[in-house]
């Protein structure tokens, strides 16, 4: 277990700078999620920590040791890839233990470590199978097993759940969180899925165009996003943004209101709206509205409400939960 300190790290591909100077501290034992849209540099940052990408400038230290130019296998990190990257010709046991064998570990110790990892991940009955005989979730567990046996200081996950279906993804989210609690290791996890970030992280790093927009605990980012980008990225469905005179009424240039913080009424309210479309999700309904005052608006209502297209409704924002931005930053309240 160790912390990761990234200081003034830059990454350039020729003349293109994908990561301008970036500073970040990943505390020891934390589950840090790097989140952002495609191309924001989150995977590049993770690969620089792993040593699979060279660093154009700055330093990376793990547990106080500068590993900026160390070989990937000498950094004390283990990585789980999106594609699992299992060796197709080896059995599950060989996949998990091969790195240890190459490192010259005695056979008995290696077998003990493989068994221990297999127990943690419930892979015991599958040890003699080849990867092609496993389901997606099982393959993912083998990939995690391969990381566990190395007893790394830092685990790195590069979108590990992207290839799984929705149900399995939800299950694996829980399993990974439990694994983190059990091992207590530092974990750095890359995803573009804000639900994964919110449910698993104890620290979220929101990246945009190679720069850090905000770092913080999931609910801090939800409650007090510091930039419109973070406000729009964290939370599902996406936050409503309102510009113009109404935003100025609230004392800023941009007003952000989450869909779950707007109430709807068919009798009275602040803004009159017309229903465009309603998505019935069972426990809740997403109502998409058009308002002459604020433009398009999405509202999340608990339960199943009848909202046919064209119906007139009134929307009222929660004043305590609205977000005001000025000059691209959160306005002081």
């Amino acid at each position: 277990m160790a912390d990761v300190r990234i200081a003034s790290v830059t990454k350039r591909y020729g003349a293109v700078e994908v990561v301008p100077s970036l500073d970040l501290h990943i505390p020891e034992g934390s589950f840090t999620v790097l989140v952002g849209p495609s191309g924001c540099g989150k995977s590049t940052l993770l690969r620089m920590i792993a040593g699979l990408e060279t660093v154009s400038g700055g330093t990376i230290a793990i547990g106080g040791r500068d590993i900026t130019h160390a070989a990937p296998s000498k950094r004390g990190v283990a990585m789980v890839f999106q594609s699992y990257a299992l060796y197709p010709h080896m059995t599950v046991a060989e996949n998990i233990g091969f790195g240890l064998r190459l490192a010259g570990m005695p056979k008995s110790e290696m077998e003990a470590r493989v068994r221990e990892a297999a127990d943690i991940l419930q892979l015991g009955p599958l040890l003699d199978r080849k990867p092609k005989q496993l389901s997606g979730g099982q393959r993912q567990r083998v990939a995690i097993g391969r990381a566990i046996v190395r007893k790394p200081k830092v685990f790195l996950f590069d979108e590990p759940l992207s290839n799984l279906d929705a149900a399995l993804r939800a299950q694996m989210r829980v399993e990974l969180s439990e694994l983190h609690q059990r091992l207590g290791s530092t974990m750095v996890y890359v995803t573009h899925d804000q639900v994964e970030a919110m449910t698993m992280a104890d620290q979220i790093v929101v990246l945009n165009k190679g720069c850090i927009e905000q770092v913080g605990a999931p609910m801090d980012l939800y409650r007090a996003p510091q930039t419109p980008f973070v406000a729009g990225f964290i939370g599902s469905p996406k936050m409503n943004f309102i510009e113009g005179p109404i935003a100025r009424e609230f004392g800023g240039e941009l007003l952000g209101i989450r869909p779950e913080h707007v109430t709807l009424s068919d009798r009275e309210g602040r803004w009159s709206c017309t229903v465009r479309h309603a998505e019935h999700l069972g426990g809740e309904t997403l109502v998409h509205l058009d308002s002459p005052e604020v433009g398009r608006l999405t509202v999340k209502v608990s339960g199943d409400i009848a909202a046919a297209p064209g119906v007139q409704l009134y929307a009222t924002p929660g004043l305590d939960t609205s977000h005001v931005f000025k000059g691209g930053l959160r306005a002081p309240s």
Binding site: L52, P72, M79, F81, A85, Y87, P88, G99
Partner: protein, 281 residues
């Protein structure tokens, strides 16, 4: 039940014609080899009788296998040594070269590959004279080594391995790098075990090439100690005497059997390789 789903009858008929064209000479070879009567062979040559055996005798085979002037099994051993040694060394060296070009950080590796592939266009016949002079100067004439060396570096083999290695997902090698594999270990423990289909394809192509090699061995071998089967068979035709067709065909069948067995052994992997690479053998 429709035996030929729509659109498959013409390809089936075409395949039958091709198969028949390939099988006819083989049938003739086997039929003649089983006939001990030379007069009968000559009379029936070109008629239906030369394709369907009427007599079955192994006399020609016994004659060929026990002829002290032409020690068949010695020649076969020579051919096997040269072919298998070439295959083993060639597959090792060519796959390593391809791995460096495909996954290594060699500067100008695209140019190197282009140069290697361009050598496929150079006819082997144009190289035999310089090679012969070189072999003479090195004192290698009439040895196994002189027959093995020119077959080792094989541009087609390098290209086939390169194609395969380039398609192995990058993640596998990166995972290996994190596991502490060296560049050679990535080749040895990941690339090579995965390339079994290509190894089979390359092995079959080169096995045929080496087993049937004639021009180079005839130039560099003198006696039965190192001479291969092809050159020994050529000796049937070099004299003024009447050609003993029964013996020639028995010799040819005996020579073809290992090739057929080798193909049968490798065919599944070979077909998988051809199907996946789009390369026609």
């Amino acid at each position: 039940m429709n035996l030929f789903p729509r659109g498959t009858l013409m390809p089936f008929l075409f395949a039958c014609v091709v198969a028949f064209g390939v099988l006819l000479p083989l049938m003739m070879m086997v039929t003649i080899s089983l006939n001990p009567d030379e007069q009968d062979i000559l009379v029936s040559m070109g008629t239906l009788k030369s394709f369907i055996p009427e007599v079955i005798s192994f006399q020609n085979y016994i004659d060929v296998w026990t002829d002290p002037a032409r020690p068949f099994f010695r020649y076969m051993m020579n051919t096997a040594i040269v072919t298998l040694a070439t295959l083993a060394i060639s597959i090792t060296i060519n796959s390593m070269a391809a791995f460096v070009v495909a996954q290594g950080s060699l500067p100008g590796k695209k140019g190197v590959l282009l140069f290697i592939v361009a050598t496929i266009a150079v006819p082997a016949e144009s190289l035999v004279l310089p090679q012969l002079i070189l072999a003479g100067k090195l004192g290698l004439v009439d040895t196994y080594v002189v027959q093995i060396l020119p077959g080792i570096a094989n541009a087609l083999s390098i290209f086939l391995f390169f194609q395969f290695f380039s398609r192995i997902p990058k993640d596998l090698f990166e995972a290996a790098e994190l596991d502490g594999f060296s560049f050679f270990q990535k080749y040895r423990h990941i690339a090579l075990p995965l390339s079994r289909p290509v190894i089979s394809a390359v092995a079959i192509l080169q096995f045929l090439e080496m087993w049937n090699a004639y021009l180079w061995p005839v130039m560099v071998t003198r006696g039965p100690e190192v001479r291969p089967l092809t050159v020994a068979m050529g000796a049937f035709f070099g004299t003024n005497q009447r050609i003993p067709w029964g013996d020639v065909m028995a010799f040819a069948v005996s020579m073809a059997v290992p090739v057929i067995l080798f193909f049968l052994l490798m065919q599944r992997q070979f077909i998988a390789s051809v199907m996946s690479s789009g390369v026609k053998g």
